[in-house]
């Protein structure tokens, strides 16, 4: 049984993204006959010239009527090697929040470029968002190579231009692949029309890229407590277990830990699951932890490696992607939902706004829908945080409107600027 790779794609219909995804799904036999028949029927009804594979992902009535992707669509396919979850997001600037959503859980970002057009504004934006959300791997898919005569020089120039952007942003791992999605060159099978390219086809790369270390098994352990299990049954009158999902690191029985924000120390007495006890638990596992000492621990607390604990802060700097129609202004009061803790917070300052196309920071009075900027926050009670650059779980939070309950924004704790 294989493992799982989550990847996000961003782009518009005309750069061939839908064709590419359609090709991946179709060639991996993940499009079913009735789905294809339905798409073909609708394409004919709409008068499309070709079977519009975008209709496979654009499922909502409004999307089909308007011929646009409004929301993140999740698609699933698997090969004998690996299973894949694709977050297919619309690429236009007015859908930045959807891209951010898709990238938040992605192991890999697929950035599409039309070989005839090269690196565009939207390419820079997709790269910038991948960097901001710390997506560990990026694939630069240079598509429509057939329309530039499969010319190596064109590919090299685009890769060079993108590498400059990637360096500026600090993208960690970029792989560039020349392809022609419509004819399937270098999508699932290696192309014989670009013998100057000796790298893998896209699917091969997606199957091979190593994501094991991306989830922080080697980092200091972080275990946000979700739920306290107290069965109070006759068999287990005194059982008290702390249920949660390992955010990062590896927790072992006998480890010295500190419970934050209280700061009390103890050791791990046991790690339980319904299937039996474990010697250790790694990032992303859902387990139940027992502590040696009887401490007052509840939801919202974090059990952490004693040697390198996270910070406990009531004031912090963060990068925020604003997702609501009403703008964010300094002084705004919101709820912060961070790991398993939700606290009241006040935006104490708006530091700047990021132009995601030029990557320039500029002063701003407010953040509007889809804007990204830096803010300072003060919280009513402390949060147990790491910088988002170090930990995509303990460094991330939502901003929620306390009155309407709506999610207004997504925040990432800044590295190196943590305030006391």
């Amino acid at each position: 049984m294989g493992d799982l790779l989550r990847f996000a794609t961003a782009g518009s219909v005309d750069d061939g993204k839908s064709t590419l995804i359609g090709r991946l799904l179709y060639d991996s036999k993940s499009v079913f006959a009735d789905q294809l028949a339905s798409v073909e029927r609708t394409s004919v009804d709409r008068g499309d010239d070709y079977t519009n594979l975008a209709l496979l992902t654009d499922g909502l009535r409004a999307e089909r009527e308007q011929g646009i992707t409004i929301d993140v669509a999740y698609r699933y396919f698997s090969t004998p090697v690996r299973s894949f979850i694709v977050a297919d997001t619309p690429g236009h600037v007015q859908y930045t929040r959807n891209m951010v959503t898709g990238a938040s859980t992605a192991d890999l970002a697929l950035v599409l470029v039309d070989a005839r057009k090269g690196v565009l504004e939207q390419t820079r934006r997709h790269a910038a968002l991948s960097g901001l959300l710390r997506v560990p791997h990026v694939v630069l898919a240079v598509n429509k190579m057939d329309l530039v005569g499969f010319d190596e020089a064109v590919f090299d120039a685009i890769v060079k231009a993108f590498t400059d952007v990637a360096d500026e942003i600090g993208l960690a791992d970029v792989t560039a692949i020349p392809m022609a999605a419509l004819s399937g060159d270098n999508v699932v099978h290696r192309s014989d029309r670009m013998d100057w390219y000796d790298g893998p086809a896209l699917l091969e790369h997606l199957e091979q890229v190593s994501v094991e270390r991306d989830h922080g098994e080697a980092r200091p352990s972080r275990f946000p407590v979700q739920y306290v299990l107290r069965p109070m049954s006759i068999e287990r009158p005194d059982y008290r277990g702390y249920a949660g999902t390992m955010a990062s690191g590896t927790l072992r029985v006998g480890d010295d830990v500190v419970v934050l924000p209280s700061g009390r120390s103890t050791t791990i007495a046991g790690i339980d699951t319904a299937d039996g006890e474990l010697t250790h638990a790694v990032a992303r596992q859902a387990v139940t932890v027992r502590l040696a000492a009887e401490l007052d621990v509840s939801r919202g607390d974090a059990i952490c490696a004693a040697g390198s604990p996270p910070q406990v802060l009531s004031s912090l700097e963060a990068t925020v992607c604003w997702m609501a129609d009403a703008p964010l202004e300094p002084g705004a009061q919101l709820l912060v939902k961070h790991t398993t803790r939700t606290v009241r917070a006040k935006v104490t300052a708006l530091l700047d706004r990021l132009d995601v196309t030029t990557l320039e920071r500029e002063p701003a009075e407010q953040l509007r829908l889809n804007d990204i900027g830096r803010i300072t926050l003060r919280t009513a009670s402390p949060l147990v945080v790491d910088a988002y650059a170090d930990d995509r779980t303990t460094g991330a939070f939502l901003l929620i409107d306390a009155t309407t309950g709506e999610t207004r924004g997504a925040g990432m704790v800044m590295a190196g600027t943590l305030l006391p």
């Binding site: 049984m1 294989g2 493992d3 799982l4 036999k29 079913f32 006959a33 009735d34 789905q35 339905s38 499922g59 909502l60 009535r61 409004a62 089909r64 409004i70 929301d71 993140v72 669509a73 999740y74 698609r75 699933y76 698997s78 979850i85 951010v100 959503t101 938040s104 094991e212 979700q226 739920y227 299990l229 107290r230 069965p231 287990r236 277990g241 249920a243 999902t245 339980d272 699951t273 319904a274 299937d275 039996g276 006890e277 474990l278 250790h280 638990a281 992303r284 596992q285 859902a286 939801r299 709820l335 790991t339 398993t340 995509r392 991330a396 939502l398 929620i400 309950g405 999610t407 997504a410």
Partner: protein, 302 residues
């Protein structure tokens, strides 16, 4: 007693994600409930709930929206499983809503659209603020746009154009009294994942999911079993075929597929190479239009 964890497989990760979601709900909501039909997805969801809260009992009741058009094997399975677990089962009956005139049965016998009224009544009567459903995003294109936490207004309606962004593993369940959240812990599972998991975990499912001899007739390119709720019309020939069910919904609109698969392993092999989606193959209720599911969901369907 002690096991060592190798690298996490895809099923491990899906299981962990589902457990995480269920614990979030138990921690943040006052009155959750789990929709349990005796179908494979709700059985897997119940299995995750047992794991999530072990060694406690699951801290919420099970709710079955009973169309009255059930497969006997599925009802028997439901009752046996509930008894084994000592769980609390609330049955919300579509027949009761027909009898009291809250809904009118349409000629032709499809009761699926009527379920919405009964479901919303059950949610209101139980004052449930979170309701777990076994829906998966791979089932249908409107469901592909669903969130793990899906907000429903005071009328139970889904507004697909105004959904909350869902990032990382942070789920926003805020709602006002009278509103509720539908929660889908199996969002990221596929039909194949469900069967691989049933196989791996040795989970029991009703016998009709496996190959058996049954009297069937063909209608709308589907094989329908002869039951009190589905009878052949003139000209529809009844034959005995080796079939199994891929979904077990309302017996009047759920078709069987010809299949020799008698075990979870054989079903996994069959599903891995199938060319039709499970809903396309077996559900008349989704054939009403391209957006049949979206329209029903907006009104408050599962």
């Amino acid at each position: 007693m002690t096991t060592v964890v190798p690298g996490l497989s895809q099923l491990d990760l899906l299981e962990a994600e589902g457990i995480h979601v269920m614990r979030e709900v138990a921690a943040e909501f006052e009155r959750p409930a789990l929709l349990f039909s005796g179908g494979k997805d709700s059985i897997v969801m119940l299995h995750l709930a047992l794991k999530a809260f072990w060694p406690m009992r699951i801290p919420f009741p099970l709710v079955h929206v009973d169309t009255g058009h059930n497969f006997d094997e599925v009802l028997a399975f439901r009752d046996r499983r509930v008894a084994e677990l000592g769980a609390r089962l609330v049955v919300a009956s579509v027949q009761a809503d027909i009898d009291t005139g809250r809904v009118r049965e349409v000629p032709g016998g499809l009761r699926n659209p009527l379920q919405t009224t009964t479901l919303l009544r059950a949610i209101e009567e139980g004052r449930y603020d979170a309701v777990f459903g076994g829906a998966r995003r791979d089932e249908e294109k409107a469901r592909a746009k669903e969130r793990f936490f899906s907000f429903r207004d005071a009328f139970g309606q889904w507004d697909p154009k105004n959904q909350r962004p869902e990032l990382w593993n942070l789920y926003n369940g805020r709602h006002a009294p009278g509103e509720h959240i539908r929660v889908f812990p199996l969002s990221n599972w596929t039909e194949l994942d469900v069967w691989r998991y049933i196989d791996r975990e040795c989970i029991e499912v009703p016998s009709i999911y496996y190959a058996h001899e049954r009297q069937v007739f063909e209608r709308d390119e589907m094989l329908l079993g002869v039951t009190p709720h589905s009878q052949p019309r003139t000209g529809e020939a009844v034959t005995t075929r080796l079939v199994r069910y891929r979904t077990v919904g309302d017996a009047s609109c759920t078709g069987a597929v010809a299949s020799p698969a008698r075990s979870p392993r054989e079903v996994v092999e069959e599903v891995a190479v199938t060319r039709l989606t499970e809903r396309g193959a077996t559900r008349a209720d989704d054939r009403a239009s391209e957006a049949a599911m979206e329209d029903r969901k907006k009104e408050g369907y599962f």
